[in-house]
Protein backbone atom coordinates (compact mmCIF):
# COMPACT_ATOMS: atom_id res chain seq x y z
CA UNK A 1 0.00 0.00 0.00
CA UNK A 2 1.32 3.43 -0.92
CA UNK A 3 2.07 6.15 1.63
CA UNK A 4 -0.78 8.20 0.22
CA UNK A 5 -3.22 5.32 0.61
CA UNK A 6 -2.16 4.59 4.19
CA UNK A 7 -2.44 8.30 4.96
CA UNK A 8 -5.96 8.51 3.51
CA UNK A 9 -7.14 5.41 5.40
CA UNK A 10 -5.47 6.65 8.58
CA UNK A 11 -7.35 9.95 8.34
CA UNK A 12 -10.63 8.14 7.57
CA UNK A 13 -10.06 5.91 10.63
CA UNK A 14 -9.09 8.80 12.88
CA UNK A 15 -12.01 11.08 12.05
CA UNK A 16 -14.77 8.48 11.75
CA UNK A 17 -13.69 7.07 15.13
CA UNK A 18 -13.29 10.42 16.85
CA UNK A 19 -16.76 11.59 15.89
CA UNK A 20 -18.57 8.42 16.92
CA UNK A 21 -16.52 7.24 19.93
CA UNK A 22 -18.40 9.10 22.68
CA UNK A 23 -21.77 7.92 21.36
CA UNK A 24 -20.55 4.39 20.72
CA UNK A 25 -19.26 4.23 24.29
CA UNK A 26 -22.70 5.28 25.51
CA UNK A 27 -24.32 2.65 23.25
CA UNK A 28 -21.97 -0.11 24.45
CA UNK A 29 -22.41 0.78 28.13
CA UNK A 30 -26.21 1.08 27.95
CA UNK A 31 -26.37 -1.98 25.69
CA UNK A 32 -24.70 -4.17 28.30
CA UNK A 33 -27.65 -4.27 30.76
CA UNK A 34 -30.10 -4.31 27.84
CA UNK A 35 -28.67 -7.67 26.69
CA UNK A 36 -29.96 -9.13 29.96
CA UNK A 37 -33.19 -7.14 30.18
CA UNK A 38 -35.34 -10.29 30.36
CA UNK A 39 -33.33 -11.63 33.30
CA UNK A 40 -33.19 -8.22 35.03
CA UNK A 41 -36.93 -7.64 34.57
CA UNK A 42 -37.66 -11.08 35.98
CA UNK A 43 -35.45 -10.43 39.02
CA UNK A 44 -36.89 -7.01 39.77
CA UNK A 45 -40.44 -8.29 39.30
CA UNK A 46 -41.33 -5.50 36.87
CA UNK A 47 -43.07 -7.85 34.50
CA UNK A 48 -45.38 -10.73 35.38
CA UNK A 49 -43.50 -13.99 35.63
CA UNK A 50 -43.77 -15.77 32.32
CA UNK A 51 -46.58 -18.22 32.88
CA UNK A 52 -45.98 -21.49 31.14
CA UNK A 53 -48.46 -23.65 29.34
CA UNK A 54 -50.31 -23.06 26.12
CA UNK A 55 -48.80 -20.39 23.88
CA UNK A 56 -51.10 -17.41 23.43
CA UNK A 57 -50.32 -17.34 19.69
CA UNK A 58 -51.90 -20.77 19.20
CA UNK A 59 -55.44 -21.70 18.28
CA UNK A 60 -56.60 -23.94 21.13
CA UNK A 61 -59.88 -24.50 23.01
CA UNK A 62 -57.96 -23.92 26.26
CA UNK A 63 -57.39 -20.31 25.27
CA UNK A 64 -60.01 -17.57 25.60
CA UNK A 65 -61.40 -16.07 22.37
CA UNK A 66 -59.69 -12.91 21.15
CA UNK A 67 -62.98 -10.97 21.23
CA UNK A 68 -63.33 -11.79 24.94
CA UNK A 69 -59.79 -10.64 25.66
CA UNK A 70 -60.28 -7.43 23.70
CA UNK A 71 -63.56 -6.67 25.50
CA UNK A 72 -61.72 -6.99 28.84
CA UNK A 73 -59.00 -4.61 27.72
CA UNK A 74 -61.51 -2.04 26.48
CA UNK A 75 -63.61 -2.37 29.64
CA UNK A 76 -60.55 -1.45 31.68
CA UNK A 77 -60.06 1.65 29.52
CA UNK A 78 -63.54 3.00 28.72
CA UNK A 79 -63.75 5.15 25.59
CA UNK A 80 -60.51 3.83 24.10
CA UNK A 81 -60.04 1.90 20.84
CA UNK A 82 -57.86 -1.15 20.14
CA UNK A 83 -54.49 -0.57 18.45
CA UNK A 84 -52.41 -3.73 18.75
CA UNK A 85 -52.66 -7.24 20.11
CA UNK A 86 -49.44 -9.22 20.49
CA UNK A 87 -48.87 -12.88 21.28
CA UNK A 88 -46.27 -15.13 22.85
CA UNK A 89 -44.95 -18.48 21.62
CA UNK A 90 -43.73 -19.62 25.03
CA UNK A 91 -46.71 -19.05 27.31
CA UNK A 92 -50.29 -17.83 27.56
CA UNK A 93 -49.41 -14.15 28.11
CA UNK A 94 -50.51 -11.62 25.52
CA UNK A 95 -50.57 -7.84 25.34
CA UNK A 96 -53.33 -5.52 24.17
CA UNK A 97 -52.52 -1.92 23.34
CA UNK A 98 -55.29 0.64 23.36
CA UNK A 99 -55.41 4.38 22.78
CA UNK A 100 -57.78 7.34 22.50
CA UNK A 101 -58.11 7.07 18.70
CA UNK A 102 -57.05 4.71 15.86
CA UNK A 103 -54.00 6.80 14.90
CA UNK A 104 -52.95 7.52 18.51
CA UNK A 105 -49.36 8.55 19.20
CA UNK A 106 -47.13 6.15 21.09
CA UNK A 107 -47.11 8.30 24.24
CA UNK A 108 -50.93 8.06 24.48
CA UNK A 109 -51.03 4.28 24.20
CA UNK A 110 -51.82 1.95 27.09
CA UNK A 111 -50.44 -1.57 27.18
CA UNK A 112 -52.17 -4.25 29.23
CA UNK A 113 -50.89 -7.76 29.78
CA UNK A 114 -53.32 -10.66 29.99
CA UNK A 115 -53.17 -14.38 30.55
CA UNK A 116 -55.11 -15.85 27.66
CA UNK A 117 -55.56 -19.21 29.39
CA UNK A 118 -57.31 -17.74 32.43
CA UNK A 119 -58.58 -14.55 30.84
CA UNK A 120 -57.19 -12.60 33.80
CA UNK A 121 -55.14 -9.44 33.81
CA UNK A 122 -51.48 -10.31 34.30
CA UNK A 123 -50.17 -6.78 34.74
CA UNK A 124 -49.62 -3.44 33.12
CA UNK A 125 -46.38 -2.48 31.42
CA UNK A 126 -44.24 -0.22 33.59
CA UNK A 127 -43.16 2.81 31.63
CA UNK A 128 -40.77 4.00 34.31
CA UNK A 129 -37.81 2.32 35.88
CA UNK A 130 -34.10 2.23 35.29
CA UNK A 131 -34.28 -0.25 32.42
CA UNK A 132 -36.74 1.95 30.56
CA UNK A 133 -34.44 4.95 31.04
CA UNK A 134 -31.46 2.95 29.72
CA UNK A 135 -33.47 1.74 26.74
CA UNK A 136 -34.58 5.25 25.77
CA UNK A 137 -31.02 6.52 26.09
CA UNK A 138 -29.80 3.67 23.89
CA UNK A 139 -32.52 4.05 21.26
CA UNK A 140 -32.80 7.81 20.77
CA UNK A 141 -31.28 9.67 23.76
CA UNK A 142 -34.83 10.91 24.57
CA UNK A 143 -34.84 12.89 21.31
CA UNK A 144 -37.37 10.86 19.36
CA UNK A 145 -36.89 10.19 15.67
CA UNK A 146 -34.12 12.80 15.15
CA UNK A 147 -32.15 11.23 18.01
CA UNK A 148 -32.62 7.81 16.47
CA UNK A 149 -31.38 9.00 13.06
CA UNK A 150 -28.43 10.70 14.73
CA UNK A 151 -27.41 7.47 16.47
CA UNK A 152 -27.88 5.72 13.12
CA UNK A 153 -25.39 8.15 11.59
CA UNK A 154 -22.97 7.44 14.46
CA UNK A 155 -23.40 3.73 13.75
CA UNK A 156 -22.57 4.36 10.11
CA UNK A 157 -19.37 6.16 11.15
CA UNK A 158 -18.57 3.21 13.41
CA UNK A 159 -18.78 0.93 10.36
CA UNK A 160 -16.47 3.31 8.45
CA UNK A 161 -14.08 3.10 11.41
CA UNK A 162 -14.21 -0.71 11.35
CA UNK A 163 -13.53 -0.89 7.61
CA UNK A 164 -10.68 1.65 7.70
CA UNK A 165 -9.29 -0.10 10.78
CA UNK A 166 -9.11 -3.41 8.90
CA UNK A 167 -7.40 -1.72 5.97
CA UNK A 168 -4.76 -0.26 8.33
CA UNK A 169 -4.35 -3.66 9.97
CA UNK A 170 -2.66 -4.91 6.80
CA UNK A 171 0.39 -2.59 6.70
CA UNK A 172 0.63 -2.65 10.50
CA UNK A 173 0.81 -6.44 10.72
CA UNK A 174 3.04 -7.03 7.68
CA UNK A 175 5.96 -8.16 9.83
CA UNK A 176 4.05 -9.26 12.90
CA UNK A 177 2.51 -12.60 13.80
CA UNK A 178 -1.22 -12.66 14.53
CA UNK A 179 -1.93 -11.88 18.15
CA UNK A 180 1.39 -10.15 18.86
CA UNK A 181 1.11 -8.22 22.13
CA UNK A 182 4.28 -6.26 22.92
CA UNK A 183 3.35 -5.40 26.47
CA UNK A 184 6.78 -4.72 28.00
CA UNK A 185 8.26 -2.01 25.75
CA UNK A 186 6.03 1.02 25.98
CA UNK A 187 2.52 1.70 27.10
CA UNK A 188 1.64 3.04 23.68
CA UNK A 189 2.91 -0.06 21.87
CA UNK A 190 1.03 -2.29 24.31
CA UNK A 191 -2.29 -0.54 23.74
CA UNK A 192 -1.66 -0.26 20.01
CA UNK A 193 -1.23 -4.03 19.82
CA UNK A 194 -4.32 -4.61 21.96
CA UNK A 195 -6.34 -2.18 19.82
CA UNK A 196 -5.33 -4.07 16.66
CA UNK A 197 -5.90 -7.55 18.06
CA UNK A 198 -9.25 -6.83 19.70
CA UNK A 199 -10.43 -4.83 16.69
CA UNK A 200 -9.69 -7.52 14.14
CA UNK A 201 -11.02 -10.32 16.34
CA UNK A 202 -14.32 -8.61 17.18
CA UNK A 203 -14.67 -7.28 13.63
CA UNK A 204 -17.39 -9.59 12.32
CA UNK A 205 -19.52 -9.37 15.44
CA UNK A 206 -19.12 -5.60 15.72
CA UNK A 207 -19.95 -5.14 12.03
CA UNK A 208 -23.13 -7.19 12.33
CA UNK A 209 -24.28 -5.50 15.54
CA UNK A 210 -23.33 -2.08 14.14
CA UNK A 211 -25.05 -2.59 10.81
CA UNK A 212 -28.20 -4.09 12.33
CA UNK A 213 -28.25 -1.20 14.80
CA UNK A 214 -28.19 1.25 11.91
CA UNK A 215 -31.01 -0.67 10.19
CA UNK A 216 -33.03 -0.58 13.42
CA UNK A 217 -32.73 3.22 13.55
CA UNK A 218 -34.40 3.25 10.12
CA UNK A 219 -37.38 1.21 11.39
CA UNK A 220 -39.89 4.04 11.18
CA UNK A 221 -39.15 5.05 7.56
CA UNK A 222 -38.95 1.38 6.56
CA UNK A 223 -42.45 0.71 7.95
CA UNK A 224 -43.73 3.90 6.32
CA UNK A 225 -42.26 2.86 2.98
CA UNK A 226 -43.99 -0.53 3.27
CA UNK A 227 -47.26 1.19 4.13
CA UNK A 228 -46.98 3.61 1.20
CA UNK A 229 -46.00 1.01 -1.37
CA UNK A 230 -46.98 -2.57 -0.54
CA UNK A 231 -49.83 -1.96 1.86
CA UNK A 232 -51.39 0.70 -0.38
CA UNK A 233 -51.27 -1.77 -3.26
CA UNK A 234 -52.70 -4.63 -1.20
CA UNK A 235 -55.65 -2.45 -0.16
CA UNK A 236 -56.07 -0.36 -3.32
CA UNK A 237 -59.79 -1.23 -3.55
CA UNK A 238 -60.24 0.68 -0.29
CA UNK A 239 -58.35 3.78 -1.40
CA UNK A 240 -60.46 6.90 -0.88
CA UNK A 241 -62.91 5.18 1.45
CA UNK A 242 -63.52 6.91 4.76
CA UNK A 243 -61.82 5.29 7.74
CA UNK A 244 -63.82 2.48 9.36
CA UNK A 245 -65.11 3.72 12.74
CA UNK A 246 -64.18 1.44 15.68
CA UNK A 247 -67.83 0.70 16.55
CA UNK A 248 -68.13 -1.14 13.22
CA UNK A 249 -65.11 -3.40 13.81
CA UNK A 250 -66.23 -7.00 13.41
CA UNK A 251 -65.20 -10.18 15.23
CA UNK A 252 -61.46 -10.73 15.63
CA UNK A 253 -61.96 -14.45 16.06
CA UNK A 254 -63.81 -14.64 12.75
CA UNK A 255 -60.98 -12.69 11.09
CA UNK A 256 -58.38 -14.98 12.69
CA UNK A 257 -60.32 -18.08 11.58
CA UNK A 258 -60.29 -16.76 8.02
CA UNK A 259 -56.53 -16.22 8.18
CA UNK A 260 -55.93 -19.68 9.65
CA UNK A 261 -58.05 -21.21 6.89
CA UNK A 262 -55.81 -19.63 4.23
CA UNK A 263 -52.52 -20.04 6.09
CA UNK A 264 -52.85 -23.16 8.26
CA UNK A 265 -49.92 -23.73 10.57
CA UNK A 266 -48.94 -20.07 10.85
CA UNK A 267 -49.51 -18.36 14.18
CA UNK A 268 -49.85 -14.60 14.58
CA UNK A 269 -47.09 -12.56 16.20
CA UNK A 270 -49.31 -9.52 16.44
CA UNK A 271 -52.45 -7.98 15.04
CA UNK A 272 -52.52 -4.32 14.05
CA UNK A 273 -55.90 -2.63 14.16
CA UNK A 274 -57.14 -0.17 11.51
CA UNK A 275 -55.63 3.32 11.37
CA UNK A 276 -52.14 2.69 12.74
CA UNK A 277 -48.75 2.50 11.07
CA UNK A 278 -49.02 -1.21 10.49
CA UNK A 279 -52.40 -1.40 8.81
CA UNK A 280 -54.79 0.41 6.49
CA UNK A 281 -57.80 2.36 7.75
CA UNK A 282 -60.08 -0.64 7.10
CA UNK A 283 -58.16 -3.78 7.98
CA UNK A 284 -57.04 -6.02 10.72
CA UNK A 285 -53.43 -6.69 9.73
CA UNK A 286 -52.53 -10.11 11.13
CA UNK A 287 -48.75 -10.50 11.09
CA UNK A 288 -48.10 -14.20 10.77
CA UNK A 289 -44.83 -15.81 11.81
CA UNK A 290 -43.31 -18.62 9.79
CA UNK A 291 -43.49 -22.14 11.18
CA UNK A 292 -39.72 -22.78 11.37
CA UNK A 293 -37.30 -21.11 13.81
CA UNK A 294 -35.69 -19.06 11.03
CA UNK A 295 -38.92 -17.94 9.37
CA UNK A 296 -40.42 -17.24 12.80
CA UNK A 297 -38.64 -13.87 12.61
CA UNK A 298 -39.93 -13.16 9.11
CA UNK A 299 -43.52 -11.98 9.17
CA UNK A 300 -46.24 -12.22 6.56
CA UNK A 301 -49.11 -9.75 6.88
CA UNK A 302 -52.62 -11.04 6.17
CA UNK A 303 -55.12 -8.22 5.71
CA UNK A 304 -58.68 -8.92 6.74
CA UNK A 305 -61.50 -6.45 6.18
CA UNK A 306 -62.21 -5.38 9.76
CA UNK A 307 -65.93 -5.00 9.10
CA UNK A 308 -66.79 -8.10 7.07
CA UNK A 309 -64.03 -10.44 8.26
CA UNK A 310 -63.16 -11.32 4.66
CA UNK A 311 -59.54 -11.75 3.61
CA UNK A 312 -58.29 -8.99 1.29
CA UNK A 313 -54.70 -10.11 0.64
CA UNK A 314 -51.73 -12.02 2.06
CA UNK A 315 -48.30 -11.02 0.85
CA UNK A 316 -44.81 -11.59 2.22
CA UNK A 317 -42.99 -8.47 3.33
CA UNK A 318 -40.56 -6.83 0.88
CA UNK A 319 -36.81 -7.35 1.37
CA UNK A 320 -36.24 -4.08 3.20
CA UNK A 321 -38.86 -4.95 5.82
CA UNK A 322 -37.46 -8.49 6.14
CA UNK A 323 -34.03 -6.93 6.72
CA UNK A 324 -35.51 -4.87 9.54
CA UNK A 325 -37.14 -7.94 11.11
CA UNK A 326 -33.88 -9.92 11.00
CA UNK A 327 -31.94 -6.93 12.33
CA UNK A 328 -33.75 -7.09 15.63
CA UNK A 329 -32.51 -10.46 16.94
CA UNK A 330 -29.08 -9.94 15.37
CA UNK A 331 -28.73 -6.65 17.23
CA UNK A 332 -30.22 -7.76 20.56
CA UNK A 333 -28.48 -11.16 20.80
CA UNK A 334 -31.56 -12.65 22.42
CA UNK A 335 -32.05 -15.64 20.14
CA UNK A 336 -29.69 -18.24 21.57
CA UNK A 337 -30.44 -18.47 25.29
CA UNK A 338 -28.21 -17.24 28.12
CA UNK A 339 -24.80 -18.45 26.79
CA UNK A 340 -25.27 -16.34 23.66
CA UNK A 341 -26.13 -13.33 25.80
CA UNK A 342 -22.97 -13.84 27.84
CA UNK A 343 -20.87 -13.99 24.64
CA UNK A 344 -22.71 -10.87 23.44
CA UNK A 345 -21.75 -9.12 26.68
CA UNK A 346 -18.10 -10.24 26.38
CA UNK A 347 -17.87 -8.91 22.82
CA UNK A 348 -19.58 -5.71 23.94
CA UNK A 349 -16.88 -5.28 26.60
CA UNK A 350 -14.20 -6.02 23.98
CA UNK A 351 -15.73 -3.23 21.88
CA UNK A 352 -15.56 -0.86 24.87
CA UNK A 353 -11.85 -1.68 25.24
CA UNK A 354 -11.32 -1.02 21.51
CA UNK A 355 -13.01 2.37 21.85
CA UNK A 356 -11.06 3.32 24.98
CA UNK A 357 -7.68 2.20 23.61
CA UNK A 358 -8.42 4.08 20.40
CA UNK A 359 -9.14 7.18 22.42
CA UNK A 360 -5.94 6.64 24.43
CA UNK A 361 -3.88 6.29 21.25
CA UNK A 362 -5.33 9.55 19.92
CA UNK A 363 -4.98 11.54 23.16
CA UNK A 364 -1.41 10.33 23.68
CA UNK A 365 -0.08 11.69 20.40
CA UNK A 366 -2.60 14.13 19.12
CA UNK A 367 -0.02 16.85 18.31
CA UNK A 368 2.03 14.47 16.22
CA UNK A 369 2.08 14.94 12.46
CA UNK A 370 0.00 12.70 10.25
CA UNK A 371 3.23 11.58 8.54
CA UNK A 372 4.56 10.25 11.86
CA UNK A 373 1.34 8.34 12.47
CA UNK A 374 1.48 6.87 8.97
CA UNK A 375 5.03 5.76 9.69
CA UNK A 376 3.89 4.17 12.94
CA UNK A 377 1.27 2.18 11.04
CA UNK A 378 3.68 1.15 8.28
CA UNK A 379 6.33 -0.07 10.71
CA UNK A 380 3.92 -2.01 12.88
CA UNK A 381 4.45 0.41 15.74
CA UNK A 382 8.27 0.05 15.71
CA UNK A 383 8.69 3.69 14.79
CA UNK A 384 6.72 5.35 17.56
CA UNK A 385 4.83 8.43 16.53
CA UNK A 386 7.37 11.01 17.65
CA UNK A 387 6.24 14.18 19.32
Amino acid sequence: MSHAAVRAWFLAHKWSSLICTAFLLMLCVTGLPLIFHDEIDALSGDTPSAATGLASSQDHPGLKPLDVMLAKALAAKPGSVPLFMAFDNAGPLMTITTGPSPGAAEKDMTLQIFNRATGEVAGAAEEGGVMHFILQLHVDMFLGLPGMFFLGAMGFLFIVALVSGVVLYAPFMRRLAFGTLRTSRSKRLKWLDYHNLLGVVALAWASVVGLTGVINTLGTPIIQLWQMRELAEMTRLYAGKAALPPERYGSLDAAMAEVRRVRPGNNPQFIAFPGGNFSSKHHYAVFLQGDTPLTEHLLTPALVDAETGRLTDVRTLPWYAQALLLSRPLHFGDYGALPLKILWALLDIVTIVILVTGLYLWIGKRRTTVAAHVREVETGGEAAAAL
Binding site: V166, Y169, A170, M173, R174, R175, L176, A177, F178, G179, T180, L181, R182, T183, S184, L197, L198, V200, V201, A202, L203, A204, W205, V208, T292, P293, L294, H297, L326, P329, L330, Y335, G336, A337, P339, L340, L343, L346, L347, V350
Partner: protein, 60 residues
Protein backbone atom coordinates in the same frame (compact mmCIF):
# COMPACT_ATOMS: atom_id res chain seq x y z
CA UNK B 1 10.27 -10.18 16.49
CA UNK B 2 11.48 -8.78 13.15
CA UNK B 3 9.96 -11.09 10.58
CA UNK B 4 10.02 -11.07 6.81
CA UNK B 5 7.16 -9.28 5.08
CA UNK B 6 4.13 -11.49 4.91
CA UNK B 7 1.63 -11.69 2.10
CA UNK B 8 -1.81 -10.16 2.59
CA UNK B 9 -3.23 -13.67 2.59
CA UNK B 10 -0.96 -14.56 5.48
CA UNK B 11 -1.78 -11.40 7.44
CA UNK B 12 -5.50 -12.01 7.18
CA UNK B 13 -5.54 -15.82 7.50
CA UNK B 14 -6.35 -15.99 11.22
CA UNK B 15 -8.59 -12.87 11.26
CA UNK B 16 -10.61 -14.32 8.36
CA UNK B 17 -11.00 -17.64 10.17
CA UNK B 18 -12.14 -15.83 13.33
CA UNK B 19 -14.61 -13.80 11.25
CA UNK B 20 -16.03 -16.95 9.63
CA UNK B 21 -16.51 -18.57 13.04
CA UNK B 22 -18.22 -15.38 14.25
CA UNK B 23 -20.64 -15.34 11.32
CA UNK B 24 -21.42 -19.04 11.74
CA UNK B 25 -22.09 -18.34 15.42
CA UNK B 26 -24.32 -15.39 14.65
CA UNK B 27 -26.39 -17.28 12.09
CA UNK B 28 -26.59 -20.77 13.64
CA UNK B 29 -28.79 -19.83 16.60
CA UNK B 30 -31.05 -17.88 14.27
CA UNK B 31 -31.91 -21.00 12.28
CA UNK B 32 -33.13 -23.09 15.19
CA UNK B 33 -32.69 -24.27 18.77
CA UNK B 34 -30.94 -27.24 20.34
CA UNK B 35 -27.68 -28.20 18.65
CA UNK B 36 -27.79 -25.03 16.55
CA UNK B 37 -27.67 -22.96 19.73
CA UNK B 38 -24.72 -25.04 20.96
CA UNK B 39 -22.90 -24.56 17.63
CA UNK B 40 -23.58 -20.85 17.91
CA UNK B 41 -22.05 -20.67 21.40
CA UNK B 42 -18.97 -22.64 20.35
CA UNK B 43 -18.40 -20.61 17.20
CA UNK B 44 -18.96 -17.23 18.84
CA UNK B 45 -16.63 -18.20 21.67
CA UNK B 46 -13.77 -18.23 19.12
CA UNK B 47 -13.17 -14.42 19.16
CA UNK B 48 -12.83 -14.19 22.98
CA UNK B 49 -10.79 -17.39 22.95
CA UNK B 50 -8.40 -15.90 20.36
CA UNK B 51 -7.83 -12.91 22.65
CA UNK B 52 -7.11 -15.11 25.66
CA UNK B 53 -4.79 -17.28 23.58
CA UNK B 54 -2.84 -14.21 22.39
CA UNK B 55 -2.54 -12.90 25.96
CA UNK B 56 -1.05 -16.23 27.04
CA UNK B 57 1.00 -17.21 24.00
CA UNK B 58 1.91 -14.02 22.17
CA UNK B 59 2.73 -11.57 24.94
CA UNK B 60 6.31 -10.33 24.82
Amino acid sequence: MRRPRQSLRRVFAVPAAVAIFSIVGLVAALTGDGWRDALSWAALAVPPAAIIWAMKARTT
